[in-house]
């Protein structure tokens, strides 16, 4: 008589799924590549700000209106302190790009000046600045330290919870932006939102948005944008649709770059985060010299020796 095996309870199945989703091992390639990209991106973010350090960080007027800041007595940093923070931060970011060891130590060391500079910034980009800071904090849990333990060795594997959270953070941005457009905003379904954005001489009226479209054209584009964002939020998680979702991200941000006067840093950050979703096998196929595992030892050769 065959023994009847009790089906696992819903709780047990949920726990197994949770553990598999977050804590299974995964090659560290995506984390290592993203670390290099993100350090370079952050350098590109902070370098232009250095020239305007007084205006952005030490300006005595029209500063932060946050209550915490007022409670702290609205501290005004001296310029030398800001330059010092910049020096530490930029050096750390450069080191993160070039060094192979102590990456985590450098990461922790640059977090303090980065947080202070973000807090002192009187013109921090509301969207991508906050997202970049969030990703820097989440990156602490990603296994980006090193690709291999020794040259020629296999690519390391590690629990993927850090990477998973960073990916979830990326897709949650698209999910929430759709919700905010539909619930908090009220002009996306009728196309007015895009029309206003494109015709605004300060935000739009740029390259492709100078072309005048009929009202239905804006409506189609508005609904299309919402559909694309929703597709990215979920489609990037399924293997069959991942490639399409990545293409949609690239296409959408390229179109935004050609129609709106938003900083290219925003688009490059969103497109750059796709590096987190590229499978290790694809990295190994595209750049075999850097990311492929060494070939397995030939058993016949071992026997003959």
């Amino acid at each position: 008589m065959s023994e009847q095996v009790a089906a696992p309870s819903l709780w047990a199945r949920a726990r197994t799924r949770y553990r598999t989703f977050f804590f299974d091992d995964e090659p560290v390639t995506a984390a290592v590549v993203f670390r290099h990209f993100f350090a370079l991106w952050t350098l590109a973010y902070f370098l232009p700000r250095l020239r305007h350090a007084w205006e952005l960080y030490c300006r005595p007027v029209l500063r932060s209106t946050a209550k915490v800041w007022q409670w702290l007595g609205e501290p005004l940093p001296p310029l030398w302190l800001v330059y010092g923070l910049f020096a530490v931060l930029l050096t750390g970011l450069l080191l993160l790009v070039v060094v192979r060891r102590y990456a985590r130590l450098i990461h922790v060391a640059i977090l303090a000046p980065m947080l202070v500079l973000f807090a002192l910034d009187t013109m921090m980009p509301r969207a991508y600045g906050a997202l970049a800071l969030t990703q820097w904090l989440l990156l602490l849990a990603a296994p980006y330290d090193r690709l291999r333990d020794h040259p020629g060795g296999p690519v390391l594997r590690a629990p993927r919870f850090g990477l998973r959270i960073m990916r979830l953070q990326f897709s949650s941005v698209y999910f929430f932006t759709v919700l905010s457009k539909l619930v908090d905003g009220n002009n996306w379904l009728n196309g007015r939102a895009l029309e206003f954005a494109f015709k605004n001489p300060r935000y739009g009226d740029f390259l492709l948005s100078q072309i005048d479209l009929p009202r239905w054209g804006y409506q189609v584009m508005g609904i299309g944008t919402l559909a694309c964002e929703l597709f990215v939020a979920f489609g990037i998680w399924a293997k069959p649709t991942r490639r399409w979702a990545m293409l949609v991200v690239v296409g959408m941000h390229t179109m935004m770059m050609l129609t709106l006067r938003v900083s290219p840093l925003f688009h490059s950050l969103m497109i750059g985060q796709l590096l987190l979703f590229v499978p290790a096998s694809t990295y190994a196929r595209w750049f075999p010299r850097w990311f492929s595992d060494p070939p397995p030892p030939d058993p016949s050769a071992t026997l003959s020796s």
Binding site: A141, R157, P159, F161, Q169, T177, N200, F266
Partner: protein, 213 residues
């Protein structure tokens, strides 16, 4: 697997590390769910807030520009471009820090103080760099409707940017001039006419009745 353990794998081998990792994941999930619930709550319920990452949710149907007019001590008005003194602009736009600052949109005590300090800095920069010696600045928002192109100006504040003694002197002078102008305009008898400067009976001289000696 055959590969040596990465640092996070080493952390995973300890119970404290595993607890920390679970807390990290659960923390992120809770924060995200909290943001979702906060946005879904009806407007009147305490704790309601807008969804995060809503930067493009509602583009404005008007474009606005801060217009700063400097008033010189002789009463002339000069337009001052604040973008000449503050250079950092967002992305490919010409948006400066003052274009978004909440103090320039509110009319409360602290906002007035902030705007006054901003105007003082602006006047100082205009004097140093362009030699515009303004005694007061008028800050206004110029809004243009994107479809009808209708223009509208709304005053933010008028700020006196010189010290009080100098401003009082200038104001008194201006008031005297204004009073004189008004008097000249309204009075049936001109205050200063060529007849007054000439010798002989002017229009203010007592009139004699015709035939009287």
């Amino acid at each position: 697997m055959g590969s040596a353990p990465a640092p996070l794998t080493r952390l995973w081998q300890h119970r404290a590390g595993r607890v920390l990792a679970h807390l990290f994941v659960l923390g992120w999930i809770l924060v995200t769910l909290g943001l979702l619930v906060r946005g879904v709550l009806p407007d009147r319920v305490p704790g309601h807030g807008s969804f995060p990452w809503g930067m493009f949710k509602d583009p404005n149907h008007k474009t606005k520009r801060l217009v700063v007019t400097g008033i010189l001590d002789d009463g002339r008005e000069v337009e001052i471009d604040p973008g000449r003194y503050f250079h950092y602009a967002r992305g490919f736009t010409d948006l400066r820090f003052y274009d978004h600052h909440v103090a320039l949109r509110k009319d409360r005590g602290w906002a007035k103080r902030e705007v006054r300090r901003f105007a003082l800095l602006l006047a100082e920069a205009a004097k140093e760099q362009d030699g515009i010696d303004a005694v007061a600045l008028r800050l206004e928002w110029e809004r243009v409707h994107l479809l009808s192109h209708k223009k509208q100006r709304k005053r933010v504040h008028d700020v006196i940017v010189v010290d009080k003694r100098r401003y009082r002197r200038i104001r008194n002078l201006a008031e005297r001039q204004e009073r004189r102008r008004t008097f000249e305009h309204k009075s049936p008898i001109p205050l200063r006419t060529p007849a007054l400067s000439k010798p002989g009976p002017g229009p203010l001289a007592p009139q004699r009745a015709p035939g009287a000696r």
